[in-house]
């Protein structure tokens, strides 16, 4: 691992320009070399090929500049959201509301807007704090822990399954595994093999939620989101089961895999750059400053490498000719490091304002759960940094990243200093 305050988030690579060009031609979210060199790749794309072509997965275009990504994200009539990944998951009907275009999109989105609004999320804070406290209780006293497995995944997973969907605890673990088959395909397998595994996992999850629907209809509804959706009406009509299951299939991965990515990378960052922990500890008791810092963290390490669109008509966009059916991929992390929009974009500035980043996307599909994610990150920082001793990567071990629809750290083995020592006092670092 690195020792000189340089983490994966800014790691300069020894790849030369030709190697970077080659990676651009072969860009794929499932490629480890692309991931390792991502910041160099985006820089080269923004400077010399803001709309580049990748030959992978049947061929598609990448969009790298902030301005072009903003424009594309705000033209759903030209850039359809179905399917939303490259290669596609293979679902025959669009996932709701992620892959639905206007005008239908608005109706679906309105159904879930209230539950994820700032007010609704704020009301969850006490339960969220209790949940985070329990997760840290489980860590307490352990000298060595895999923080990805013990914290980064369970925290947001419980957030969506427990606080929103009412899924019983005994089902959390296997549901997570099934969703990971879908979201983090094996980079060494073929597209076909991965698609098959993802389809099977998707089917298992669909069947699980179908049973839950049956159960709710038979035994009565609760105050969970699925109960809300079953009873909701769009233009006088109830949602059919395909639509309901489509919602469930989106809400779970959107709710945990994304925040897990940011949490895991944040905990790695803290291990490698203790001064970031110092800076965060100074503002733990200042909600306004902490909000600003959380947004900067999401700008700096956005969970999604990007999101896909399908061109609906022959057109010219960003000085490039597109044909109907062309696939494009909007690189959110590249937008977030565009020097035209952010000063010193490769620096983490926890007081950065303004911060018009695209870590939560932009346009009609912007992250529905952004306020939940912000709360999770905020409460995590407050509770974890107050209680957990300093830690570093376990000697002889490395942080292991995963590729896929989100990019994060799937294994983060660390050793803690003494749990009995003083953690934070008076909101100041030690």
């Amino acid at each position: 691992m690195t020792t000189d305050n340089v983490t994966e988030e800014v790691r300069p690579t020894d790849a030369d320009k030709d190697a970077i060009r080659k990676l651009i031609e072969h860009y794929s979210v499932h490629d480890r070399d692309v991931q390792r060199n991502q910041w160099e790749i985006y820089r080269e794309m923004r400077e010399s090929c803001p709309v580049a072509h990748s030959v992978e997965h049947g061929g598609f275009y990448t969009i790298a500049r902030y301005e072009d990504i903003y424009d594309a994200a705000h033209k759903p009539e030209i850039f359809s959201s179905f399917p939303v990944t490259i290669p596609p998951f293979g679902n025959p009907t669009p996932m709701v509301p992620l892959e639905v275009d206007p005008p239908k999109h608005r109706n679906y989105r309105a159904l879930v807007g209230r539950q994820f609004s700032p007010k609704s999320v704020e009301a969850l804070e006490p339960r969220m704090r209790q949940m985070v406290t329990e997760i840290i209780d489980d860590l307490e006293g352990k000298p060595e822990v895999d923080l990805a497995k013990e914290v980064a995944v369970p925290l947001p997973l419980r957030g969506i399954l427990e606080l929103y969907l009412g899924v019983p605890q005994e089902d959390w673990e296997w549901l997570k595994d099934e969703f990971i088959y879908m979201l983090q395909p094996d980079p060494d397998a073929t597209d076909e093999e991965n698609q098959e595994a993802a389809m099977q996992a998707g089917l298992n999850c669909t069947m699980y939620f179908a049973k839950m629907l049956d159960n709710l209809r038979t035994n009565g509804f609760g105050d969970d989101l699925i109960s809300d959706l079953v009873q909701a009406e769009v233009e006088g009509e109830k949602l059919d089961d395909d639509e309901l299951l489509g919602f469930c299939l989106v809400l779970v991965p959107a709710g945990f895999d994304t925040t897990a990515s940011v949490l895991s990378r944040l905990m790695l960052l803290i291990a490698e750059r203790p001064e970031v922990r110092d800076q965060l500890e100074e503002i733990l008791d200042d909600p306004t400053k902490l909000d600003v810092a959380v947004d900067e963290l999401v700008r700096y390490m956005p969970p999604l490498p990007g999101i896909a669109r399908t061109v609906t008509q022959k057109c010219e966009f960003a000085n490039t000719q597109f044909e109907e059916g062309d696939r494009v991929f909007m690189l959110w992390p590249s937008a977030n490091r565009d020097p035209e929009y952010f000063s010193d974009p490769d620096e983490l500035k926890l007081d950065r304002q303004p911060n018009r980043h695209m870590g939560f996307g932009s346009g009609i599909h912007r992250c529905l759960g952004s306020h939940l994610a912000r709360l999770e990150l905020k409460v995590f920082l407050q509770e974890f940094l107050r209680r957990a001793p300093r830690y570093r990567l376990a000697p002889g071990q490395e942080a292991v990243w995963h590729t896929g629809s989100t990019w994060g750290v799937k294994k983060l083995p660390v050793v803690f200093e003494d749990w009995t020592g003083p953690a934070v006092t008076n909101g100041n670092g030690r």
Binding site: Y70, H74, A110, G113, R114, F116, S117, P118, K119, D291, V292, D295, Q353, P354, N355, R356, H357, M358, F360, S362, G363, I364, R366, S370, H371
Partner: protein
């Protein structure tokens, strides 16, 4: 100084209400609206932050 918010562009990021809570609030669906006509002099800085913070570019200074 007066602000204008284009509600057709607002997607509920809530950044304006976060950086300028005296000027913006959010409704039950998370959509933002203005709570003042004239921006008080001591909040012009916050107003500028809110304009620049909106990921949808939905807020503008009118005069």
């Amino acid at each position: 100084m007066r602000l204008a918010i284009d509600s057709s562009r607002c997607e509920g990021h809530g950044r304006c209400a976060s950086v300028a809570p005296g000027l913006f609030e959010v409704d039950d669906y998370g959509m933002s609206y203005l709570v003042v006509g004239d921006v008080p002099g001591d909040q012009e800085g916050a107003a500028a932050y809110a304009v620049d913070a909106c990921p949808e570019q939905a807020i503008a200074v009118r005069e």
